[in-house]
């Protein structure tokens, strides 16, 4: 849509200035500092680097961080789809208020979310008190990490699925119904395949966000090494011990993971957009 409109080099000014400033600022604020992590870690040499990123305590943090992020993103995929569905398809009181509230995890500072969740899920908290007799402990266990990551990832799936659901042509569903499909069959065979790219993108976004999350987790996690310690916290621990190279090495692992996720998400969104364009 915009490709043909932007052949305007002759008329519009400011190309050199705007691009130059963009590249300079990007380089100084983002690229140069990020390269510092790689350079610092490479100073360790391969053997020391490998040892630093595969120590048992570090491996335990990967398992918790990536495992909890995966479970939280899966929870959000399921409930996010449900929330998006209810917000788009049904009418109920205060629907627009609920819709606006979905973005709360984006707007609420993570430290506030962290202490609030810790308070609610502690043994004496509003929800923790109800779970205690059932033998379920959330605060200060790995389960608490999953709860916090579910909170911060909640809007991603809703906000990626919602617009696609809104634009979904009802003719498809009518056609399926007229061909004899039940409502559940229509949902599974027609609607879900249509939503799949957005759903997977939302899942990946929630997962990527959860992997790097720090503020909301540390208050509820308990932070016991080997049990409830997340990777970002271990980076901070290494920094406090003045082990800058060790911290940089773990940071490199996290950066590579997030680059891979970013590429994946970009690919997904590119494919989803192309699919939309072809479909329309």
């Amino acid at each position: 849509m915009t490709g043909t409109r932007t052949r305007t080099k002759g008329v519009l000014p400011g190309f050199g200035l705007s691009l130059g400033y963009t590249l300079l600022y990007l380089g100084l604020i983002v690229l140069l500092p990020l390269s510092a992590a790689f350079i610092k870690a490479s100073g360790l040499g391969w053997a020391a680097f490998w040892h630093a990123v595969t120590e048992p305590r570090v491996l335990a943090t990967y398992r918790l961080t990536f495992g909890a992020a995966l479970l939280a993103a899966a929870t959000n995929a399921l409930f996010g789809l449900l929330v998006a569905w209810v917000l788009v398809r049904y009418r109920f009181p205060a629907r627009r208020l609920v819709d606006a509230l979905v973005d709360l995890p984006f707007a609420l500072p993570t430290a506030v979310a962290g202490i609030a969740l810790a308070a609610v899920y502690s043994r004496t908290g509003w929800i923790g008190r109800l779970l205690e007799p059932l033998g379920i402990q959330v605060a200060f266990t790995p389960l608490g990490v999953i709860v916090a990551l579910t909170f911060i990832g909640l809007p991603f799936v809703v906000r990626t699925v919602q617009p696609v659901l809104q634009d979904l042509d009802s003719e498809l569903e009518e056609a399926a119904a007229s061909l004899g499909a039940s409502r559940w069959q229509t949902f599974r065979r027609v609607i879900v395949p249509h939503l799949a790219p957005a759903l997977i993108t939302g899942f990946a976004l929630a997962f990527a966000r959860a992997v790097g999350e720090y503020g909301s987790v540390i208050f509820i996690a308990g932070n016991v090494p080997m049990v409830s310690e997340i990777t970002p916290l271990l980076i901070i621990t290494k920094l406090e011990q003045y082990d800058y190279a060790g911290a940089a090495a773990i940071a490199v692992v996290m950066l590579v993971a997030s680059f891979v996720l970013l590429l994946l998400i970009n690919g997904l969104q590119h494919r989803a957009r192309r699919g939309e364009a072809l479909g329309a």
Partner: protein
């Protein structure tokens, strides 16, 4: 005609019982994960009475944290706003090689862990960092001081304005600007009189989100702050200190200020979305909405 409409409504929705069940489960999920924690902040803040609440906020360290939070946002947000406008102008108005890479790189800070964002500035400006010894010799403090906290905040809020403006400018096309130029307007006149009025709502939207994150950032700022009470404590860091001292009433009182900020942010953001949707019930509303979500 009427019977056809009736039929399609029946076949493209669910039975009332299913509808109520799904709505109930969705609202219960949101209530459990959003409303209960939010309510807990205010309830815990006021549990020891309004006097304790006011005293916790009016205390000198808390006020210093408010001032520092405002100061950091006042520097970081305009910097990223200027960058966002420049980046959007370059990307949406010109063709050049590597544009897709550039757009992906602009989004990069969103996928970097806040802790890593703080760490990279420690590696450059810290005592063991590249520039640390030189800065030390010249008496300049970057980390464990305000400049480092501003830098870390700029990093984590880097993409907010740019990612709102890029799709907006692309969707609007450049006919109006070209017309202004052909009619004799200078480059800056075109920008101030044509481009800026066209993008002001998207810009405001990006600034609101950027500001909320700048004031609420915890991980990145925590790494470079050094946690010096009354000096390098922002509001979120002050909440952490109070909480770790088991001073829960004060921690939640300060946290309630940040929760209020979040609610104001949501209200403003929703107001902008509604306004944009009313004005052009089409392309612009779309680009103002879901951009926040992308990585």
């Amino acid at each position: 005609m009427t019977s056809a409409t009736l039929d399609t409504t029946v076949v493209t929705t669910e039975r009332p019982a299913v509808r109520w069940l799904l709505t109930g489960v969705a609202l219960a999920f949101l209530g459990l994960f959003l409303v209960v924690p939010l309510a807990a902040v205010f309830a815990s803040a006021l549990r020891k009475g309004i006097d304790v609440y006011v005293a916790s906020i009016a205390e000198p360290d808390a006020l210093a944290a408010v001032r520092l939070t405002l100061l950091i946002a006042a520097v970081a947000v305009p910097l990223n706003m200027a960058f966002g406008i420049a980046a959007a102008w370059a990307v949406a108005r010109f063709e050049f090689r590597g544009k897709r890479v550039l757009v992906a790189l602009i989004d990069l800070p969103f996928s970097v862990s806040p802790v890593v964002a703080g760490l990279i500035y420690m590696l450059i400006f810290g005592a063991q960092g590249w520039l640390g010894p030189w800065l030390n010799a010249h008496g300049v403090k970057v980390v464990f001081a305000v400049p480092g906290m501003v830098l870390a905040t700029v990093f984590v809020t880097f993409p907010f304005v740019a990612r709102e403006l890029i799709p907006l400018l692309q969707a609007q096309g450049s006919e109006e600007e070209e017309a202004a130029r052909i009619l004799g307007a200078s480059g800056w006149q075109t920008f101030w009189r044509v481009t800026l009025p066209n993008i002001k709502w998207g810009l405001l939207y990006g600034v609101i989100l950027c500001n909320a994150r700048a004031m609420g950032e915890f991980g990145a700022v925590s790494v470079v702050s050094g946690h010096i009470r009354g000096q390098t404590n922002t509001l979120p860091l002050h909440v952490e200190i109070l909480y770790n001292e088991y001073n829960f009433a004060a921690a939640f009182a300060v946290a309630s200020l940040l929760a209020l900020l979040a609610l104001v942010t949501l209200a403003l953001k929703t107001a902008v979305e509604w306004r944009v949707a009313r004005r052009h019930a089409g392309s612009v509303a779309e680009s103002a909405g879901p951009q926040w979500v992308k990585p």
